[in-house]
């Protein structure tokens, strides 16, 4: 009786504002302008397959870069003493709370043709670099904005690693490298997995970033969706179809990632 009363506001809210909006995407994706059932929107999504491909490849690059930079960072922080750890992690999380448009705008200042880096290179008598308005700059922006989501989950798994296992390995004569590759790394895989998905999802669906740092060199899925809703062409039907495919794509990626996670976890349990 009582549980129904406390839960009911949330049930009503989530039906109207979570389930209904997502269902609308499905409905719109399968309708044409006159409201009839149609598959033409989904067919038209294939016109954007190169956009999907470039979004995918840029976000995969960004995710890998985050992993390569983020893992050692999380690992090194986890090896410091608890007080330093707390401070360093707070400092890592801090930039996350600053508006991402502002941070990206600051990077524009730094990276542009007459920006801080190029001015610095000029004073040093070096050749100016073409950084902004390239695909590389877009990947760079993704890495900057989302790397925290990689570092934090890996760190939280690393500090939970049972110290006794490492000590046992040391006692049995394993060297530092062996301990890292046989114990620390395998045990931190759940952290890597949640980090990868937390970086990949916002990267693949990002918009604005490509316009600010990429100068329109490469349209991403997010930008294409934006154009259908608030851009020059108003076509919510096609926009919904693209969003639907994007959602399915992400759920598929998550399912694949989670599949690896589960099989790993089961193996680990079996090994004990």
């Amino acid at each position: 009786m009582k549980k129904r009363i406390v839960l009911s506001p949330y049930l009503v809210w989530s039906t109207i504002f979570i389930i209904a909006p997502v269902s609308l995407i499905f409905i719109f994706a399968f309708r044409d302008i006159d409201g009839n059932f149609s598959l033409s929107n989904l067919k038209n999504v294939f016109m954007y397959s190169d956009v999907f491909l470039s979004s995918l490849s840029l976000s995969i690059m960004a995710t890998l870069a985050c992993l390569i930079i983020g893992y050692p960072t999380a690992y090194l922080i986890s090896r410091t003493n608890p007080k330093t750890q707390k401070l360093l992690i707070a400092l890592i999380a801090m930039p996350m709370w600053l508006n991402f448009l502002l941070k990206t705008y600051a990077w524009m200042t730094i990276l542009e043709d007459n920006g801080i880096i190029n001015n610095l290179l000029f004073y040093l008598g070096l050749q100016k670099l073409k950084i902004i308005n390239t695909q590389g700059a877009v990947v760079f922006g993704m890495v900057y904005n989302f790397i925290t989501y990689m570092i934090l989950p890996i760190y939280s798994v690393l500090i939970k690693t049972d110290k006794h296992i490492i000590e046992a390995a040391q006692d049995l004569g394993a060297n530092q490298n062996k301990i890292f590759f046989k114990i620390t790394l395998p045990l931190s895989i759940p952290g890597i997995i949640s980090g990868v998905s937390m970086v990949f999802v916002p990267s693949v669906s990002t918009f604005i970033l490509s316009r600010m740092l990429g100068g329109g060199t490469s349209l991403l899925i997010g930008d294409v969706i934006d154009i259908q809703f608030l851009g020059s062409v108003y076509n919510p039907w096609l926009g919904s179809a693209i969003s639907l495919i994007l959602m399915l794509l992400i759920f598929l990626c998550m399912a694949i990632i989670n599949f690896f996670d589960n099989s790993k976890a089961e193996k680990e349990i079996a090994a004990f």
Binding site: Y144, I208, F229
Partner: protein
């Protein structure tokens, strides 16, 4: 514990922090820049801090942002805490279904959440004339994406509550409401506060969902976005420096609270 002995690892950490803070440093530095240029330094000034507080449009955007963030975080905290209590008592399958629905706004890309709200609000407005896109739709959408964070920070605390104490209070003649406030609510308060702070900061920081649901209403993120198409006024740099310090203070308070709470839990 091993401290960082290796100079290499120290350098590595420094480079990562340099990378993280370089744009923020630039942002703050240029809030004191005398010229409007965002790349050339031409002397120190506090001019932008003064004009910031004289600029009606920016002040309006700040006001809107805070109205939305506080309303949405209060709503999300109340509905979310109640929901968490309800979810705790559910049997396995209903709970699984509800948790999946709860996770949906977190798993879904922000842009998809944004356009799905836009579709909903447009349809409601077309058919009933209600819910014109503005502050109200912003509050609704922000509450919705904050709810999962509140629920997920309250639930673990609820699991730790010792319900025998609650029953003992009832046996000793407490009314259920009083017992709930004195026992359960007191225990889960840290979770509620964390959830509320998270909701507040997420709402202030949000751009993507606001972009699709704001109509003509200006929030801070929206006005930064429209400025970024031309050039961002150094006033915004000044404002973000202030915000940065505020958030830093807020985080310190939260950290401070956490270290104070620890001994209480043991006793």
């Amino acid at each position: 514990m091993i401290t960082i002995k290796n100079t290499f690892s120290k350098i590595y950490i420094c480079i990562v922090f340099l990378f993280l803070y370089f744009p923020i440093g630039t942002l703050i530095a240029f809030s004191f820049n005398a010229s409007k240029s965002r790349a050339v330094w031409s002397g120190f000034t506090l001019h932008w801090y003064k004009t910031l507080f004289a600029d009606g449009e920016t002040l309006k955007a700040i006001q809107n942002t805070f109205i939305i963030a506080s309303t949405a975080s209060i709503l999300a905290t109340i509905i979310g805490t109640a929901a968490a209590i309800g979810i705790l008592k559910l049997t396995k399958w209903p709970r699984k279904i509800i948790m999946n629905i709860t996770n949906l706004p977190m798993v879904n890309p922000e842009i998809v959440t944004g356009i799905s709200f836009m579709l909903l609000f447009t349809i409601i407005q077309k058919s009933t004339g209600l819910l014109e896109q503005g502050i109200l739709t912003l509050i609704i959408s922000h509450t919705t994406f904050c709810l999962p964070y509140v629920i997920l920070s309250v639930l673990p605390k609820l699991r730790q509550v010792n319900f025998s104490i609650y029953e003992a209070a009832l046996d000793l003649g407490c009314t259920p409401f009083r017992a709930f406030v004195k026992v359960v609510l007191r225990d889960i308060m840290p979770g509620i506060i964390t959830g509320a702070i998270m909701a507040f900061t997420l709402s202030i920081d949000d751009f993507v969902v606001s972009y699709f649901t704001s109509g003509a209403t200006q929030t801070l993120s929206i006005s930064i976005y429209s400025m970024s198409k031309r050039s961002i006024s150094p006033e915004i740099n000044a404002l973000s420096s202030i915000l940065f310090l505020l958030i830093l203070a807020l985080l310190l308070v939260v950290n401070f609270r956490k270290s104070e709470e620890a001994p209480k839990e043991i006793s």
